[in-house]
Amino acid sequence: MGKVDKGDLGRFLPLVDRSATPVVDPRGAEVAADPAVVRLAILDDLLNMGRANSLWPLTFGLACCAMEMMAAGASKYDLDRFGAGVFRPSARQADVMILAGTISKKMAPVIRQLWDQMPGPKWAIAMGGCTIDGGPFKYPNQYAIVEGADKIVPVDIYIPGCPPRPEALIAGFLQLKEKIKAGRKFNR
């Protein structure tokens, strides 16, 4: 039987509608109506442009996905093209936390501490199946893995894969950029 190689590079059709993104300004029309706020909103847009184009990630890898994260930072994929190549070792100077790999329950408090040390506005990217919801390590009665990074930090972008390719991480960064440009979001 012959196979038709069609639509290979396309995207999956999701079960849930993923087009609805949580990027809308929660204050909505009220803000738009107030002239004083609108003028400030231009400044906000400018700052958001700056933030979107200068996402410094935290030098921080948890497991195997970190290898793909490093690959994304290296010459072949070069995250620095988008201004995201400045991996800061100190959480105080980072903007994005790339959670790359399995989060064991021993590691969870450390991650939370690092997240708390980051200055706002800050964002988190969950990279790989394990980080999204436990992945292959998720089974009944397991006791070692945090089933989902969003149980410890507020995650903005989810990138599935085991591990995702560097392109997927770059795509995640681009989507995060869109999200930042679209509206303000301060995690305290």
């Binding site: 442009m49 700056g50 200068s54 010459s75 093209r81 190549g85 070792p89 100190s90």
Partner: protein, 343 residues
């Protein structure tokens, strides 16, 4: 209008803020460009693209970084030594502006003319050390403290060969015994005056890098260590000390350290140009352009070195300074003194 402007500038109360503002603006542009250049140079050495998406050739990348850093939350950790923690970035930031003002960009374009310009530059370098100390101690963080201790040990160690190698140039300038015609009056050359050093090279048509090659090499290596640049960047060694003395600093305070670091690069390379590469001396193009061109070439070499060599270990660094650099620079100074005395 020009009269009022000159009056404004003559008034010593307003002259200082205006001059400081001008220098600040120029230095900010310089730092933005240098950070962009650093990222591009590193990218090209690693056969990457570097920043491309923001602005043409990614030129606005550092502007975006600056915007972001301005709007970042300023975190003051709970147990820091507050006065020291808050003052340290300002103190790191202030002396570099003063040091730039002393540089002779051309024969006539000198913001602050001083007979002891060379010493002034070194003195301001000494104040920056205290700022690093304050940052490291005030942060109440073990990595910051270790980084500060390393940084200060490194800075005071490498200041010795730095000053000794510069002194050998001063000896040469003084020994030439020439007089400079300056606005009708005859002035005896003074080796500590930065513009006189350049004029000495200009008159003889000989750059001091040819007269004092060993001093030039010692100066360059010490300058790398003074500015905490790789391969001597152990104060902020990422693999051991998180980010060194500025581990706890976020947002604008961190960017002030960043600013100071890159301006320090500019200062040491400008001083290198003055001491060894003939300052504003050059054909066709106007003096200040040559001066900046040469300075940025030296900075390029610093970046090139950074992206080539791995970091040294701390004991290697200290051994290298005290057992190689300092004896070598003292020998060089003695030899220069001997030659000067005999000839």
């Amino acid at each position: 209008m020009p009269e009022t402007l000159s009056q404004l500038l003559d008034d010593s109360v307003l002259a200082m803020p205006i001059a400081a503002g001008l220098i600040m603006g120029a230095l900010t542009i310089n730092v933005l460009m240098l950070v962009w250049a650093e990222r591009k140079v590193s990218a090209w050495i690693q056969r990457r693209m570097g920043p491309t998406e923001v602005g043409p050739f990614g030129l606005l990348q550092t502007l975006a970084d600056m915007l972001k850093l301005i709007s970042k939350q300023l975190i003051t950790p709970s147990n820091v030594d507050k006065p020291l923690f808050h003052l340290a970035p300002l103190l790191a930031f202030a002396p570099v502006i003063a040091a730039v003002a002393l540089m002779p960009f051309s024969k006539s374009l000198i913001l602050v003319q001083n007979d002891f310009g060379l010493l002034f530059v070194f003195a301001f370098g000494g104040i920056a050390v205290i700022a690093i100390f304050m940052a490291g101690w005030g942060s109440n963080n073990k990595y910051a403290l270790l980084g500060a201790i390393r940084s200060v040990a490194q800075s005071i160690s490498y200041e010795i060969p730095l000053i000794l190698s510069a002194l050998s140039v001063v000896l040469v300038v003084n020994a030439m015994g020439f007089t400079l015609a300056s606005g009708g009056s005859i002035v005896v050359a003074n080796g500590l005056d930065l513009s006189h050093i350049v004029m000495a090279q200009d008159q003889h048509g000989l750059w001091f890098v040819l007269v004092q090659p060993i001093a030039a090499i010692i100066y360059f290596i010490s300058a790398l260590a003074e500015t905490n640049r790789a391969p001597f960047d152990i104060p902020e060694a990422e693999s051991e000390l998180v980010a060194g003395f500025h581990t706890e600093y976020s947002g604008m305070r961190f960017s002030m350290f960043f600013f100071a670091e890159y301006t320090n690069m500019l200062i040491v390379s400008m001083l290198a140009v003055v001491l060894f590469f003939g300052g504003w001396d050059g054909p066709v193009l106007p003096g200040p352009l040559w001066f900046f061109l040469k300075s940025y070439m030296v900075i390029f070499v610093m970046m090139w070195v950074r992206w080539t060599f791995p970091r040294l270990r701390f004991d290697q660094l200290m051994t290298f300074c005290w057992k190689v650099m300092i004896p070598l620079s003292i020998l060089n100074l003695l030899a220069t003194a001997f030659v000067v005395a005999v000839l």
